[in-house]
Amino acid sequence: MPDLGPVILSLQLAGVTTVILLMIGLPLALWLAYTDSRFKPVIEAVTALPLVLPPTVIGFYLLLLMNPDAPLGGIWGSLTGGTLSFSFAGLVIGSIVYSLPFMVQPLQSAFEAVGRGPLEAAATLRASPLDAILHVLLPQSARGLLTACVLTFAHTIGEFGVVLMVGGNIPDRTRVISIAIYEHVESIEYAEAHVLSAGLLAFAFVTLVGVYALNRSYRLRVS
């Protein structure tokens, strides 16, 4: 029976990352979808940049930033008294940076496909912008929202470069399942790696089928 610690930690990390990224990504994608600003292409490019560097390298730079003597690490230290690197909070920040494009880009294209029409209709029915976003735009972008969350969540589960670098692979604190599998492969414990991988895949498959089937029947019902 493999140790469940990394599994739980991975789910926590992916869950927290997805929720926080949703909170960051939604307003960003909204702005990008509806703005007329000249800076839009620039912000779009910045949003996509985390993809270009390998995760381990992103992790390295985050490590430099999170060092207690560096700006980010310093501020965190003075606020919480702890260090950001090698903590769960550090992992979350790393995953957020790395997964940003997977959240923002699908959301943005979903919003652009919905367009202004339904939002205008909602506004003329007394719906505030927030109300219209929550009750018209998001339901109508259901598929894009799902895509964004699935990509972000699954990718955070599977990602290990950033996490390994920033988190330091500390059991029960920053050792997530992807690192555990990686470690087994690296230390030639192939049997253990197979078990963990198969378990992860089976779990992911069942969850995803559930999510997609739900999404489908939901949309069948209303469209």
Partner: protein, 239 residues
């Protein structure tokens, strides 16, 4: 379970992880202290320590990076010593174990791909390159060399059948009760510099009694026997 810090935090180069875990069992039984082991590549562990990682002891795969940490003052001077010496082997799973002579096989070059660890990153890789250079084969084999990022990946390249043979660590072939089959050539020590793996004690752990206890534990003959049983060579006199 609440995350716990444990009594001693080790940063262990991946190639030594399995051995370290075996030692952990002994040590914890002996002292009642708790070890927490993090593993990674040596370069990565170095970068982490350089940026304030909370490890007490760094068991590296080389001597260079522990030395640098001592130089930069992150580690206690005088605590660096060689805890294990790697044994390089040439492994050919489908080879004929009886009549396997590495020099001959390498010389004939009758294979598609020869795997080894990245010589720029991994000590086993550097050693393998010295072997090829020494045999004068580096040029001849250049087109057939494939690299793993570390010796673990080099092993995977061979084990999965993608490379017919490769330079791996003896510790990978004989780990505890698991033993690989096939043709194995123990590379003679004179063909490369010894693969010395050093450890250092971090400055912030200078007063950690558990850490000092572990260092002493590693020096013990009992520990060294365990280490040898995992395929490492005799430490010999500290250089």
């Amino acid at each position: 379970s609440q995350p716990h810090r444990g009594d001693v935090m080790l940063a262990v180069a991946t190639n030594f992880l399995a051995t370290a875990e075996a030692l952990e069992v002994e040590f914890e039984a002996e002292t009642g202290l708790e070890l927490v082991i993090s593993s990674g590549s040596t370069g990565q562990l170095y970068a982490q320590i350089d940026n304030g990682a909370p490890y007490d002891i760094f068991l590296a795969a080389d001597r260079e990076r522990p030395r640098r940490l001592v130089e930069s003052g992150r580690a206690m001077s005088g605590t660096q010593f060689t805890y294990a010496v790697g044994q390089l082997v040439l492994w050919m799973p489908d080879g004929d174990a009886a009549s396997f002579d590495g020099e001959v096989v390498l010389g004939q070059a009758d294979f598609r791909a020869l795997a080894m660890a990245n010589p720029d990153l991994a000590p086993y890789g550097a050693a393998a390159r010295q072997v090829l250079t020494g045999l004068g084969l580096e040029e001849a084999l250049a087109g057939k060399l494939v690299y793993g990022q570390n010796v673990g990946q080099a092993f995977a390249l061979v084990a999965s059948g993608n490379a017919e043979l490769g330079f791996v660590a003896a510790s990978q072939l004989a780990q505890g009760e698991r033993a690989e089959t096939g043709a194995i050539w123990r590379v003679p020590g004179e063909l490369h510099e010894p693969i010395r793996q050093d450890l250092v004690l971090m400055r912030h752990a200078a007063a950690n009694q558990g850490a000092l206890q572990f260092i002493n534990f590693l020096r013990s003959e009992k520990s060294q026997a365990i280490i040898r049983s995992y395929g490492y060579a005799d430490i010999g006199p500290d250089a």
